[in-house]
Assembly symmetry: C2
Homo-oligomer: 394 residues x 2
């Protein structure tokens, strides 16, 4: 993959000793000028102080820097956690020579331990010294926790004859569940965008991408998706219509790319599975059924075992809380039908089993009730998931 | 444990070849006279034909026999499944010389394959020939699937000076989730009980026991709890008041005993954990928080890893959908506090870790919001769960 750059942005990723492993644990994103920003946060009632401070910052809608700590979530840390998140911003602002209110803080990692502020401060200083336009991937790497690989994406489009770039970096791995509850993701563009339009694009694109993935159904205390547009492309600010559609499409593409990478890198994942529900009465019913199947521990272990166990899929459809008619349901794996009008077709078992041996496949559920459809992306549930999560702290 | 008997009831458990393992796979419960019966069924929209036939049978409120097949759920089997469930009853009635409407059918096991009726018929014949009052445990054994042990319980109480017995047998293991969605359980008593009173006792006792356990959050297509009272004790039929309370208490005790055994025997379970939520605004809010924690894959893998990871507990409280105030939450393991007013107490980590090494412990979550409380029993999530469920069919 070619090196990702985005005009007007600089990046750094450093190791400051928060992680015992000595891996990179502090990322910095800096724009040469303040940009328009919007963000979505975890829906959890238990939020990290970093999220509280970030939510406060985003209200004014203007940002110039993002500082991200990995290895420590700064959650369940009370007042001290709030003070530490503020201090992260203050220190970053001081080193960059900008106003504190233009710095957005994030943190991810273990819950319940205060941030080692001495290390954080020295990391910020280092990061500011190392800022460069070519360090996109270093910053993306510095925000990882149990992730196996760096997740970045880029797209471009023309706005009023000017080419603009949309880029994104994300971290995920555990606690991947829908409703912005999931991960850290930063979408950066050099486009000029009106604040309201930026908000709309972010909300709609996140709904179609990050909100349609699930790894373990758990929702974290820290999750954040930030969209920052610095306007360096000098297009006339996008506000609606065709230009909004073009920018939306680029943002959606970047976010979908990151979302699928988040599932692929789900803890212990060996399969990337699309659960597609068709012919539902409404999109919300389609999604509800899709998530019920995509989150079922029994379905996910069957995926891991490469077992086309349609019984578990039918069971998960049954308890989704949607009034379905079981006698009208068809289920297929990549087109190989295993349930026809509610009855198992065991003669197709072998062909279906071959589909499940692939690293990625699609389960299609046809409800025969209406016109609406929805897709959700999920992973399998493996020994490795249990290993990672039973040994995470010890 | 002493041999369980209950006056007026006979039992049998036989192997008729439904399971490849040649283990017992057909259970029969027979009362010497028709009794009063009530039942609760899976809340799933996708129900086994056996459940449909059972629900039809229970409407008249009188039963004399229960025939249970294990190894095949008779689910996703369409019209043929309905005919097979009816045929199971007819054949049982014929061999016993009673009316078909007095026979209740159940099935559990793999979904999507038609019942091998030749084998079922021969099993029924065998079972009728082997009926005996001392075969309670054999019947309990014959309904098992991936269960590791037979689950039986008994209690007694005095009703109008007459001693009556309440007994129960259950199977579970996978798909253990709340709301009667769980397992097969048969509660049998020689007490005489008015039909309405029987229904009340069953509903209330199930709500406090079977509906408060979870293993994997999955809800099955076949689950059934049946309460059958044959009146052989010749007490004057229980209808309300003190006698109802006494019988309720015995039924609750039997059902709680079975419910905890279901969790202990959850697939791959190594820990039995009570998640208790106190000082909530309502019982329903307390339960919602307790289930959110009890069903979290991240919390359950932490239990398996014997890691007092309060961060994951706080995260699961946060996304429960209940308006909690994180800054007022306390969390403790068997009295060892790990979160005080929302802030982690890492100094107690070692003492808490010692608690988690026990096979059974309690997590207490204090919300400081009101007077209501609720307990939910759950298990850990182990390698063994993944092994069992990824290899179940293959």
């Amino acid at each position: 993959m070619a090196k990702i750059t985005v005009p007007g942005f600089k990046f750094a990723g450093v190791a400051c000793g928060i992680k015992k492993s000595k891996k990179k644990d502090l990322a910095l994103i800096f724009s040469e000028r303040p940009g328009v920003a919007a963000a979505l946060f975890t829906t959890s009632r238990v939020k990290s102080p970093s999220v509280h401070v970030g939510a406060k910052r985003i209200k004014r809608g203007r940002l110039q820097a993002v500082v991200i700590v990995s290895g420590n979530a700064n959650a369940c840390t009370g007042r001290r956690g709030l003070a530490d998140a503020e201090e992260m911003c203050r220190e970053t602002a001081r080193c960059l020579g900008i106003h504190r209110d233009l710095v957005f803080p994030s943190s991810t990692g273990i819950i319940g331990f205060p941030l080692p502020m001495e290390k954080v401060r020295s990391g910020i200083k280092d990061a500011v010294g190392q800022l460069s336009s070519g360090s996109f991937a270093r910053a993306a790497e510095a925000m990882l926790t149990t992730d196996r690989f760096t997740k970045v994406a880029a797209a471009s489009c023309a706005l009023g004859g000017k080419k603009v770039t949309v880029t994104g970096m994300a971290k995920g791995a555990g606690m991947i569940a829908p409703n912005m509850a999931t991960m850290l993701a930063y979408i950066l563009t050099d486009a000029a965008v009106e604040p309201r339009c930026l908000k709309r694009i972010l909300a709609r694109a996140a709904d179609e991408t990050f909100n349609c993935i699930t790894v373990d159904g758990d929702t974290s205390t820290n999750d954040t998706v930030l969209f920052l547009a610095n306007g360096v492309a000098a297009n006339s600010p996008v506000r609606s219509g065709k230009e909004e559609a073009a920018l939306f499409e680029s943002a959606r593409k970047v976010m979908q790319d990151l979302a699928l990478k988040l599932v692929q890198d789900g803890e212990g994942t060996t399969k990337l599975v699309e659960v597609r529900v068709e012919a539902a009465r409404s999109v919300s019913q389609a999604r509800k059924v899709a998530f019920s199947v995509a989150n079922s521990k029994l379905v996910k272990t069957a995926f891991f075992g490469e077992d086309p166990n349609f019984g578990r899929i039918m069971a998960a459809i049954g308890y989704a809380g949607v009034p379905v008619n079981p006698d009208k349901i068809d289920v297929s794996f990549n087109g190989v039908r295993v349930v026809k009008q509610g009855v198992g077709l065991n003669s197709n078992g072998r062909r279906a089993a071959r589909v499940l041996r692939r690293p990625s496949f699609s389960v299609k559920i046809h409800l025969s009730q209406g016109q609406a459809s929805a897709s959700v992306w999920t992973s399998d549930l493996s020994y490795e998931y249990v290993r990672i999560n039973s040994a995470y702290r010890t």
